[in-house]
């Protein structure tokens, strides 16, 4: 195992009954690296992310964070050891306002703030995602991109050692997409370690240092974005054999 390795996934398999959603996946992630986890629909990307965050238990293999095995722990302890995430379909706390939604991420996880330090951090995070003006607004009054920003701010509240973004850019219109890419770029320049599951190829090219490509649960390619996107196997997986 590399000394700089932030996350290490080794021979991980996740089955749902007879379906093997993640099949013998192995990859490494270095600190301050942004890794794109890509592949066609149903290739097991979100399942892989769920195994890393502890939402699902792997059937075999293990995941370790900075050399410490985490795959045997429940999701709340994994969050506490420093993995924060957003969800494919945005999940907000609808009875609370924007500020409280963000605060929720900083009380019980990797960082355990309370009272004044919690509030000032939450305001800082809202500012970072460009939402400082709406902190007292109820969540239901926010647009989709703004809810996604709140969710991201909640994940950042714990000062995570690893951030998992599950299709955080999906469903945005072109101008929102540019805002979204800028937000992630800022996180990257701050030195965050991030795994992005994404379909938006422009975002992958401009954000990711490296990509892991999955198809039917297996890793089919790994490398720089421009290289893997030219890879014959990858094009075949996305478009079918006649286009390769």
């Amino acid at each position: 195992m590399n000394a700089l390795s932030a996350l290490s996934v080794q021979n991980t398999t996740k089955r749902f009954g007879g379906l093997v959603a993640v099949n013998q996946m192995s990859f490494e992630l270095r600190t301050h690296e942004v890794l794109g986890l890509i592949g066609p629909n149903g290739s097991g990307k979100t399942t892989m992310l769920n195994v890393i965050s502890g939402a699902l238990k792997a059937n075999s293999g293990f995941v370790s964070l900075f050399g410490k095995v985490i795959s045997d722990q429940p999701a709340n302890l994994i969050a506490r050891s420093g993995i924060a995430r957003t969800f494919q379909l945005v999940r907000t706390l609808n009875s609370m306002n924007a500020l409280e939604n963000v605060e929720a991420g900083g009380v019980f996880g990797h960082r355990r703030l309370w009272k004044n330090s919690l509030r000032s951090q939450a305001i800082e995070m809202l500012d970072k995602v460009g939402m400082a003006g709406s902190m007292n607004n109820p969540i239901s009054s926010l647009t989709y991109i703004d809810q996604k920003r709140i969710e991201l701010a909640r994940a950042l509240m714990s000062n995570p050692r690893l951030l998992l973004l599950d299709e955080w850019l999906a469903g945005l219109n072109p101008s929102e997409l540019q805002i979204g890419i800028d937000v992630i770029n800022n996180l990257k320049s701050e030195g965050h370690t991030i795994i992005i599951v994404e379909h938006v190829m422009d975002a992958i090219r401009s954000l990711c240092d490296r990509c892991v490509v999955m198809n039917t649960g297996k890793k089919i390619a790994e490398g720089k974005p421009e290289e893997v996107l030219e890879d014959e196997g990858v094009i075949q997986a996305y478009l079918g054999s006649e286009h390769a």
């Binding site: 965050s53 502890g54 939402a55 429940p74 999701a75 709340n76 302890l77 969050a79 506490r80 924060a84 995430r85 969800f87 999940r91 907000t92 706390l93 609808n94 009875s95 609370m96 605060e103 929720a104 991420g105 009380v107 019980f108 996880g109 990797h110 309370w114 007292n136 909640r154 714990s158």
Partner: protein, 308 residues
């Protein structure tokens, strides 16, 4: 404490003292209904501390209450009364912990049905123990505790529940429960041990309900499982909490007072249709004031809303 909290605390103290003076003003009908109101005030408030933020509807209140009664009924000839109240509290806590651990994986309607079934199960067990080991179907609790003393005991217990509830709402535990009520998946990924948080609150409300049963036992004098484990009690607790608004600490008490006055009138006027009346009350509350009086007050006093 902020200025607003000091103000609220003084208002609460004043109301408490005013309520405590009731037995001096009247020792007949009003004291009697005062005991009933105080009973449901304590039960609903402690119920709402768990079910309000988490949205887990528990119908097990009657089971805890009945156990409290039977512990007093069974032990009154052997141990001093106060010791039985303490034992009842401990028994309620242990039972709630066991139920909590067993029902961690249940949510929504499964949890509701489980708690309802549990109340019935406990009643059957107690009845069985009584008919095989005891001589009669009921137990006598003869003490010199009158309605006035019981009323004051309930008020003090209610004040304690309020103070603890106020403290929980301001604590990390209270925040955790609100997050769990919104989205349990998010709660887990924020690092919250959801099982632990839920069980702690369930233990608290179960303990309080058991103690209430123990305090009420001397009032009944003769305790029978059909009365002690009445499912009606669990339903009334839910209705009054919903009527007042389960989201606010003071919500249930705002619901209990008008409901019990109306309920007393209804049961006196239609003694044979109480279950029907309960059903109608349930429908009216759910349809007309789904967020309770507390919700109405917040809606029409938007200034209050901004303060948090």
């Amino acid at each position: 404490m902020t200025k607003k909290e000091v103000r609220n605390f003084l208002i609460a103290m004043a109301l408490f003292v005013l309520a405590a003076l009731l037995p001096i003003a009247d020792s007949g009908y009003w004291l009697s209904i005062g005991v009933t109101i105080a009973t449901y005030m304590v039960l609903s408030t402690s119920w709402a501390l768990f079910s309000g933020p988490t949205h887990y509807i528990s119908l097990a209140t009657g089971a805890f209450y009945g156990i409290g009664m039977f512990i007093v009924g069974g032990g009154i000839d052997l141990l001093p009364y106060w010791m039985l109240v303490v034992i009842a509290g401990c028994a309620g806590a242990i039972l709630a912990a066991l139920i909590g651990l067993a029902t961690l994986r249940l949510s929504g309607v499964y949890f509701v049905i489980f708690t309802l079934g549990l109340a019935e199960f406990v009643r059957q067990i107690v009845t069985w123990i009584q008919t095989t080991m005891g001589s009669s179907s009921g137990l006598y609790v003869l003490t010199d505790l009158n309605d006035t003393i019981i009323y004051w005991e309930l008020l003090v217990l209610g004040a304690l529940v309020y103070l603890i509830g106020w403290w929980i709402n301001r604590s990390r535990l209270g925040f955790a429960l609100r997050i769990i009520g919104n989205d349990e998946v998010v709660a887990v990924h924020c690092g919250i041990n959801t099982a632990y948080s839920k069980v702690i609150l369930f233990i608290f409300s179960g303990t309080v309900a058991t103690i209430v049963g123990a305090l009420l036992a001397p009032r009944l004098s003769y305790i029978e499982s059909n009365i002690a484990f009445s499912p009606m009690l669990s339903f009334i607790v839910v209705i009054t909490a919903l009527l007042g608004g389960a989201q606010k600490l003071w919500g249930p008490i705002v619901g209990v007072i008008p409901f019990m006055l109306v309920w007393d009138f209804l049961t006196a006027t239609f003694p044979n249709q109480t279950t029907l009346m309960l059903g109608i009350c349930f429908l009216l509350v759910v349809y007309l004031i789904p967020n309770g009086f507390a919700g109405l007050i917040e809606k029409y006093l938007p200034l209050r809303h901004q303060e948090r």
